[in-house]
């Protein structure tokens, strides 16, 4: 599903960060661990096609990311990659259901409210279907963000510090749901974190230095 080779990146005027090669099959779940400044977020943005690749190669679903650019890359990302960020942001003028419908629309998929309802149901968010995003709690927001990452049935789910803003109980619930849903969708899941609470949940780990 996901394959990287010789990936390296340098910010202007700073030393180059070299990333280990990653091979990740569908249904596999990996934890990418590293301290602040080890380039975790940079790696995740590279994998998600949010940053331009400087050196090396990323292949997702047999597609070379560096061959895509502009709207084609955006479209590919919308269809194949779901991303959960540290802070969950939503289109403020839309409620939960509308936010998820928008994501379907942006990926060029037909609106499917029953599918959205079933995902929210699996994430214990059924009563929040028509809630405004600003009225949700931190834990709820992060679960809606997971729903957003799942809604287009992507082959690859990336998560950037998904639990660092959450307390222990919320952390456990969110990470269990993320793990369950990724398994259910048979998607590759890659979590970038420095949160030690997650070390016990995921066996496959890559340490960034």
């Amino acid at each position: 599903m996901l394959k990287t080779e010789d990936l390296a990146f340098s910010y202007r005027g700073e030393s180059t960060i070299h990333f280990p090669d990653i091979h990740c099959q569908r249904g596999e779940q990996w934890l990418l661990l590293g301290q602040s400044g080890s380039g975790k977020t940079t790696l995740l943005h590279l994998l998600g096609g949010l940053r331009t690749i400087q050196k090396g190669k990323i292949e997702i679903n047999k597609t070379d990311l560096s061959q895509l650019s502009g709207a084609a890359l955006d479209h590919f990302r919308g269809q194949n990659i779901g991303i959960v960020f540290q802070q969950a942001h939503f289109v403020r003028s839309l409620n939960v259901a509308e936010n998820l419908l928008l994501v379907q629309k942006l990926a060029g998929r037909p609106s499917d409210l029953p599918h959205i309802k079933s995902i929210l149901d699996r994430l214990h968010l059924a009563p929040k279907l028509y809630a405004q995003s600003e009225n949700l709690s931190q834990g709820e927001k992060q679960r809606v963000a997971i729903a957003r990452a799942l809604v287009n049935k992507p082959g690859l789910i990336l998560a950037d510090e998904p639990t660092s803003a959450l307390d222990d109980s919320n952390c456990l619930e969110v990470i269990q749901l993320l793990e369950e849903q990724a398994r259910e969708e048979n998607a590759a899941l890659l979590i970038v974190t420095h949160d030690n609470r997650l070390r016990e949940v995921f066996k496959k780990q890559i340490i960034l230095s």
């Binding site: 943005h45 949010l50 955006d74 990302r77 003028s93 419908l101 928008l102």
Partner: protein, 438 residues
């Protein structure tokens, strides 16, 4: 959840910002549209009533007043001229004049003017009889369509005229004979719709009737003190009032000492001779000759100063509204940078974000413009009642001009331009930078 719906949701999310932009836009476009409506209808009225008249002859005074009073019936006449002076122009063998229409005025009924004239007036305004017949004897009248409708007058109805052109019961000629309605004209949309037509002699006889103080007043020349005192009446009193005299249309010419108010002339052709005629009249006689087209253009240019000022004001408001759209969108970008970046993550291209912002600007502009058009037509229809009351010309708020389509197109362009910079800014959103800055 398409882009249009999303842009609408984004606009209504900040209703106060939206209302401010909408109201400004509506005021600007509304004012432009109102000016268009007013100008178009005024010009239409003025042009429709030119009736091919080349020259108007009347008493000395303001040429514009002469035109307004004798062609548009909205101002007091400049005074009267004697039949003796008018007679040469009414000679059918005149080498330059195709036809001439005598007008005698001075009285009104319920604010509508009673005009003593000849049958040629129908040909001038392309009017025809709808019911009944044309006046044949003195004190018989044929009504314009609008009067019959507004005052609910029917054939056979009688009324007494009132002195001057204002509605005032104290000025009613109680001692004179009553006018009898014998016919009603077809509606033409021109000024004849609001005239009461009768024989020239009727106008004289109303004032000759036993009223000696009126005779004295009338014997002084240029009795043009105010609205109420302009009327065509002579100073002798020898008609048989008991039975109205049959009025052969041109018989008034046999009384050279009587007076009429004005003559409308149409030339055979507009050569230099006819231009010279105007100068000759003005320089060598006690009469005044004025060209309607020139005077109306003068009026336009005088009104133009006012409308130009309002137009500039409207443009300023439109500019400020464009600015408010720009500021509203631009300042919202800062608050919306995460959601815009997230839309990119979810598959939106730069073009999608650009279109979204443009759509928000254009949507605001179009809605503001539509609101402005509703506002302008609404206020025009309110205003039309007032205008009709004071000028007796029909105005309407429910006519639509092709210029209004251009107004909508203009609003579209303004909305686009106002949203352009925010849209470019939005399309340049760097997903990675934005998301790591949180």
């Amino acid at each position: 959840m398409n882009l249009l719906k999303l842009s609408w949701k984004n606009l209504t999310y900040k209703p106060l910002n939206m209302i401010l932009s909408l109201v400004l836009f509506a005021l600007g476009t509304g004012l432009v549209a109102l000016l268009l409506l007013l100008n178009t209808q005024l010009q239409k009225q003025f042009e429709q009533n030119l009736a091919g008249v080349d020259l108007v002859i009347g008493a000395k005074g303001s040429p514009l007043q002469l035109i307004l009073s004798s062609m548009y019936h909205i101002d007091a006449p400049t005074g009267n001229i004697s039949v003796k002076e008018a007679k040469p122009f009414l000679n059918p063998k005149h080498p330059l004049i195709k036809d001439a229409l005598p007008l005698s005025m001075g009285d009104s009924y319920q604010g509508y003017r009673i005009i003593g004239t000849t049958y040629e007036i129908l040909e001038f305004y392309k009017a025809s009889i709808a019911q009944g017949k044309l006046w044949e004897k003195t004190f018989e009248v044929t009504l314009g369509a609008k009067i019959a409708q507004d005052l609910n007058l029917k054939i056979g109805d009688e009324f007494k005229s009132s002195h001057g052109f204002v509605i005032d019961d104290n000025l009613t000629h109680d001692d004179a004979s009553s006018f009898v309605v014998v016919g009603i004209l077809e509606s033409t949309g021109s000024v004849i719709d609001q005239l009461i037509l009768t024989d020239t002699r009727s106008v004289w006889e109303v004032h000759d009737h036993g009223a000696h103080e009126a005779s004295e007043e009338a014997s002084s020349e240029n009795h043009n003190h105010n609205h109420d005192h302009d009327h065509a009446h002579g100073d002798h009193d020898h008609h048989d009032h008991a039975s109205p005299a049959p009025a052969s249309p041109k018989s008034f010419l046999e009384e050279p000492d009587q007076q009429i108010t004005a003559l409308l002339l149409r030339f055979k052709n507009r050569g230099y001779q006819s231009l010279n005629m105007q100068r000759n009249i003005n320089e060598n006689t006690d009469l005044q000759a004025a060209t309607p087209a020139i005077e109306i253009n003068r009026l336009y240019s005088m009104m133009g100063v006012g409308t130009d000022t309002l137009q500039v004001l409207a443009m300023v408001i439109v500019f400020v509204s464009a600015l408010s759209v720009f500021i509203a969108l631009f300042s919202s970008l800062k608050e919306r940078k995460y959601e815009l970046a997230l839309m990119r993550v979810s598959g939106a291209s730069r073009g999608t974000l650009f279109s979204l912002l443009i759509l928000e600007g254009v949507l605001l502009a179009i809605l503001g413009c539509i609101l402005g058009l509703i506002l302008s037509h609404g206020s025009m229809s309110l205003l039309s009642d007032y205008l009709e009351e004071s000028y007796r010309y029909p105005f309407t708020g429910w006519m639509f001009l092709k210029e209004e389509v251009w107004l909508i197109v203009g609003a579209l362009i303004i909305g686009f331009v106002a949203a352009l910079i925010p849209a470019i800014q939005a399309s340049r959103t760097d997903i990675s930078e934005t998301l790591t800055s949180s």
